[in-house]
């Protein structure tokens, strides 16, 4: 049976591919039903993935299909079905199924409806292929595949210049990361036994033993470099917030739940290699920590609901990298389990939060600015409750999914601080405390987003909002046409606002409810029961990782995590849940009330001055940092262009005699060099 299933693992990527093929071929006839083949394909692939969960084992592979054999370089098509892969598969296909169902409601009426679903199918194909591959080259192949799908989907609404720019940015930043990954593969290939880059060979003990320390350091670093771009870490995280220009289901699926975790997956896959380079491990932890802190700080002040979620994704990915980086000595196993567990739970609650934001946006006529609506809990009851569930999980409220996984990461960091190489422990202590601080901030901004959206007086967006007007001015400044602005963020998906303020249709709310249940209980089911840990044990090379003798629940860490979550949520409740209505006429009419609430305002003032002030300052600093990084990324594009334009153009002056002269000089130059060599 298990043999049979392993042999048919190819069905997992195949079904979505078949689905998108059908959509492409039959787009004309399917039209409004284009989601059917995709939903069916992904669902089938989920069923297969689920059954594969049962057969997972460290060395279960599908039979290799000869594919590419060049110059001692052998890349067969082969799938590995160990714990890590099957976990990722099940998670990806499950979340993707729900998101595809949601999208069929959300995208209804969009002129690019078939295109959207064809791309979603293609994406799921690439993503499942990525986690199934049994060698680095095949992984790289699908790695690029998901990148291209992401590029096409971010730029799905091509008529918006911001979407086009975001797509280009995403593509190019990812190329920078891929460069590192490609070099890592070349290096692995040349340094490994038999020039075999399959995971089974590269991560085998003999191979790791024969790699020199420089190779281990270098390859680990390069792999991490590749991962930073895909998983949006400092300094290459800049593309992810911009990628929110894509349709919301895309943000949920690709830029929150699945694709961005590919980098984490890669590092987790290579953990047996990385644990041998503790310097790189420390770097991973520090970068993860920086990313988490930075993006959480930015998330505090965002007014765009989707952007809050985007920065929180970056921040949570930072958490995962902190976890991975904590894998020193005996903590290795615990650390990678913690990181992957966080990846697993994060996929559920972040997909949920994005979809719920999408649902809000859908109901608000594509407005996503939190200043323009509030008090929606009665109008959108289901969205409200599901968002709350996701928010609790993200905040790490005790017993929800996020709580368990975040707790594990904190635990791993704490152990790492004790177990690290002499002199490196201090780093992990710092990372640990920053992680706690970030957890607190996470809870706070999650609460803020939730209370601003669903609490307070009920308010629906109207075109007369000052923010709307400002936005319009902005748009005009940027020279885009007015029609584009009317469509707002998710331009062109066909809801003309006639049912603004209504709950989304059931096809959208059912996935939300399922995900909400998952977000609440998935941690409890898999975490304390050890199910997840047990499953991940079945991963290639993990059995040899250092592990602690026994680690029970660490109550102190749990308390710390819970405290951070509860404090953060509580503070946001105080600040945002019962905002006083500030409008001036109200203050005039009800003067006593106004005076009575003076105290409140005073707190607000304090908050404004002290908390918001410092936060703003921090955000300002991060914005500057963001700008610098952005400038560097742009510089990579512009400096060569400048070189090419101003620096090299004079040589191509159109005079053929000058060209001949350059040739003659070239020969003379080469001759001199060559003759006087050595």
């Amino acid at each position: 049976m298990s043999q049979f299933l392993a042999h048919n693992a190819w069905l997992v990527p195949f079904f979505p591919l078949l689905g998108s093929f059908i959509v492409v071929v039959a787009a004309k006839w399917l039209r409004e039903q284009s989601h059917l083949p995709i939903v069916a394909g992904i669902a089938l692939s989920f069923l297969v993935s689920f059954s594969l969960w049962m057969v997972a084992g460290p060395d279960v592979t599908s039979p290799a299909i000869e594919w590419l054999t060049i110059s001692g370089f052998n890349v067969p098509i082969q799938f590995r079905l160990d714990g890590l892969t099957t976990m990722m598969l099940a998670m990806v296909t499950f979340v993707a199924t729900l998101i595809a169902v949601f999208a069929s409601g959300y995208m209804a009426g969009d002129p690019g409806y078939p295109r959207f679903f064809a791309l979603i199918g293609l994406f799921v194909f690439s993503m499942t292929g990525l986690v199934l591959s049994n060698n680095y080259v095949l992984t790289y192949l699908f790695w690029e595949g998901v990148g291209v799908c992401s590029y096409m989907l971010v730029g799905f609404w091509h008529s918006k210049p911001s979407a086009a720019a975001a797509a280009k940015k995403a593509f190019l930043v990812n190329r920078i990361g891929d460069f590192g990954f490609a070099i890592a593969i070349f290096w692995l290939w040349s340094a490994s036994i038999n020039h075999d880059v399959s995971y089974g060979n590269v991560l085998s003990r003999e191979n790791l033993d024969q790699l020199g320390p420089a190779a281990i350091m270098g390859i680990s670093f390069l792999l991490f470099w590749g991962a930073t771009a895909k998983s949006a870490q400092v300094p290459l995280y800049v593309w992810l917030p911009d990628a929110m220009e894509g349709p919301t289901p895309v943000s949920a699926l690709i830029h929150a739940a699945t694709m961005v975790t590919a980098g984490v997956y890669l590092i987790a896959r290579s953990t047996p290699l990385l644990v041998r380079a503790h310097e790189v491990q420390a770097l991973v932890a520090v970068i993860g920590c920086l990313t988490a802190l930075l993006s959480a700080t930015i998330a505090l002040t965002q007014t765009d609901l989707k952007r809050v979620m985007a920065y929180s994704t970056v921040s949570q990915l930072g958490f995962m990298f902190m976890g991975l980086g904590a894998g020193v000595n005996n903590v290795a196993q615990l650390a990678v389990f913690a990181a992957m567990f966080h990846l697993f739970t994060h996929a559920f609650f972040k997909a949920l939060l994005f979809l719920a934001s999408g649902s809000v946006m859908h109901a608000m006529g594509n407005v996503i600015d939190m200043r323009r609506f509030s008090g929606l809990r009665h109008r959108l009851p289901i969205t409200h409750l599901t968002f709350a569930a996701g928010g609790l999980a993200l905040a790490g409220f005790p017993l929800t999914a996020g709580f368990w996984s975040k707790d594990e990461i904190l635990l791993a960091l704490k152990h790492a601080a004790h177990q690290a190489e002499p002199g490196w422990g201090g780093i992990y202590v710092a990372v640990y405390w920053i992680a706690v601080l970030t957890a607190f901030m996470t809870a706070f901004y999650t609460g803020r987003a939730y209370f601003l959206t669903f609490w307070g007086p009920e308010k629906l967006p109207s075109p007369q909002d000052p923010e709307a007007l400002a936005e319009a001015v902005d748009e005009v400044d940027h020279g885009s046409s007015h029609t584009e602005h009317d469509h707002g963020h998710d331009a062109g998906h066909g809801h003309d606002g006639h049912h603004v303020g209504q709950e989304s249709p059931p096809i959208m709310t059912y996935p939300l409810m399922i995900l909400a249940v998952c977000a609440l209980i998935v941690g409890l089911i898999f975490g304390p029961t050890g199910l997840f840990e047990h499953h991940l044990h079945l991963t290639l090379g993990y059995e040899h990782l250092g592990h602690l003798e026994a680690h029970g629940a660490d109550w102190l860490v749990m308390l710390m995590g819970s405290l951070a979550a509860i404090l953060g949520l509580g503070l946001s409740y105080l600040f945002y849940a019962h905002r006083s209505p500030i409008p001036a006429q109200l203050a005039e009419r009800l003067r006593p009330l106004y005076l009575a609430s003076y105290n409140k305002f005073w707190i607000d003032e304090i908050y404004e001055k002290a908390v918001v002030g410092t936060t703003l300052l921090l955000a300002e600093i991060s914005a500057i940092f963001d700008m610098v990084i952005d400038a560097i990324v742009r510089g990579i594009a512009y400096l060569p262009r400048w070189l090419g334009g101003a620096g090299l153009a004079p040589f191509q002056n159109g005079l053929v005699q000058f060209y001949a002269g350059v040739t003659a000089m070239g020969v003379a130059f080469l001759l001199i060099i060559v003759l006087f060599w050595l």
Binding site: E66, W67, L68, T69, I70, S71, G72, F73, V137, Y140, L141, E144, G145, V148, G155, H158, S159, A163, A164, A167, K168, F171, L172, R175, I176, D178, F179, A182, I183, F186, W189, S190, I636, A637, P640, R641, W642, L643, G644, G645, G647, L648, A649, F651, Q652, V656, Q657, Y659, A660, V662, T663, M665, G666, V667, L670, L671, V674, L675, W677, L678
Partner: protein, 679 residues
Amino acid sequence: MPPTAAFTINFRDFYVLAPEIVLALWGLVVLLYDVGWLRKLPNASRQQKLGWITLLGVFGALIAAIHALMVRFNLYGMQELFNPAWMDFDRPEPVIFWGTLAGDLFTETINLFLILMLLVAIRLSMAWSFTDSWGEYFALILWSTVGMMLLAAAEELLTLFLTLETMTICLYLCTSFEKNKRRSAEGGLKYFVYGSVSSALFLFGLSLLYGLTGTTELYAIKMVFTPETGDSHIGLAGNVSGMTALLLMLVGFGFKVAAVPFHQWAPDAYEGAPAPVTAWIATGSKVASFVALMKVLLLGLAPWSNHMRDVATPGWVGVVAALAAASMTFGNLAALAQRNLKRMLAYSSIAHAGYMLVGVAAAGYSSRHSESAGSVLYYLIIYGFTNLGAFAVAAWLARDKDSDDISDLNGLGFQYPGLAVCILLLMLSLIGMPPLAGFFGKLYMFMEALNEKNPEGRLTMLWLVGLGLLNSVVSAFYYVRVLKAMFLRPAEGTVVAPAGPAIALPIVVGTVVALGFGIYPAPLVDLMKSAAVPMLDVSGELIGSSLERAMWNRARRAPTGPPTDVKLELPASVAPQAGSTAPQAESTPPPLLPGTGKGQGAASKKGGGMGKGAGKGAGALKKKGQGKGQDASKDAPPSDQPKTDSPTKDAEKTEAPKKNESGSDDLKKAAPKADAAKP
């Protein structure tokens, strides 16, 4: 043996050249048909009619080329069908017309791909009416192809020069064919002036090389430069004339393949030429020139490749590595600044030449010449087809918008989604994104480069490959601009009309190649790997004059014996052999196409011819050679008395430097040499 035996023209020679002959004659037919029957017709219909007639001839050549490959691989029993007595298939690898041209698996493969590219390019030329002189246009394109095919087959430097000129002179003219366009005439003139200067430099280098070696045959040159077989004093160290000759010849090739700093004609000529001609210059001519470059460097000048062989000079590998680094970097940087699609593609093709030169340098270092060369060939073919598609996009713009700025592509993705997706795939392949063929080309070539075991060579290759990877990241920036224009920008101004079959064909063909050989590259990789073996060896199997010239050369330097003492007897294998001997069972045929049953079958058939020599010759070699030996010094130790060696020693020692090559190479070498020693 009368020397005339060598100069007998064999029917077989013409048979091997069938595709070239068909194309050359068809050029005349097209010209005459235009003058005779179509004069009165309006321009557009003349173009269509002539185009189809030209395509007919190209199909004829295609059939000839496919036929040759079918005979080689003995598909459908072709060898039995086409092996009449006069065909003389029993001879080993045909080296035709007295060793000036080769007719082996390699040339057949290149012919096939060149003709396929020509087919696409001619169909593209029918897209719109950019000139009046259609007869001349099509004839010149056909003749330039003849030049390219012969260039790929040339085994000798004069032939190489002549075919190079045939090709370029035709292309100079084609470049300036666009009527009413100043820039077309200007592009043509610049191409001409630059090309003539570089061919003069090339020729001067050739003359120096001739002076050094006394021969123009590549294999003989190799023998002379190899210390064991030739005069060991002709190394590269301190050899000013040798170095000058090498560099001047590199100028000629550098010009053809557009490598920095010999590239400057390319952007101007590409922009000026009508788009179909640009496509043809950038693909066909580049493919043929690269092949010739590899032949000269890896065959004729192989002993000068690096200082492992010749202490204290960098050898040509160093020079080629420098050219490669400069081309990649310069091409990509300059492409970033371009707004014009054709110019951008011109610079990008300079960058691609740089990548391929990395492969050539690797082949120079490596002991795995043929694998490395095979990787370059693979890249070349993929490059050719994808670039034809890319230039077809430029042709589309030129046809409908009369300009070819990248911004003219705006909104194309929504008007013509099908073709736009094809263009997307082409661009991604050119960037080197998996799983497209461009990615595998780079991967394969860079892997080969990194395969270098020698520590010093490894270092060079490491930084070259690193630079190549970095450059392919940079290249993403400008290719993405095309994608951005197509998919992420709204259409503005007038829109392009539907592509029509002429323009769609190259794009679709390019996409199919990029996708097909990306997803399943193995067949093409295998074919190119086996084609590279005869490319670098064919003259070794010969026979005719090469060996004999080398012998003569050695003798010429002997102070004791005047050259006239050297009794030059032509190896028997050149003369038609009467009667056929059954192939010897014990002779193992070289694996021509490893892994394919058909290839094996063909090899054994071919081996039949060689086996005859190998089986008997292995034993007969010594005796026969000694009997023929001119000097009494047949027992002299090998290396200290090179000047008085007998041809036998000669033949033995040629094998010495090849010891480190793969077994199949050894076999291939041994067989014909034995053949040559046969009476």
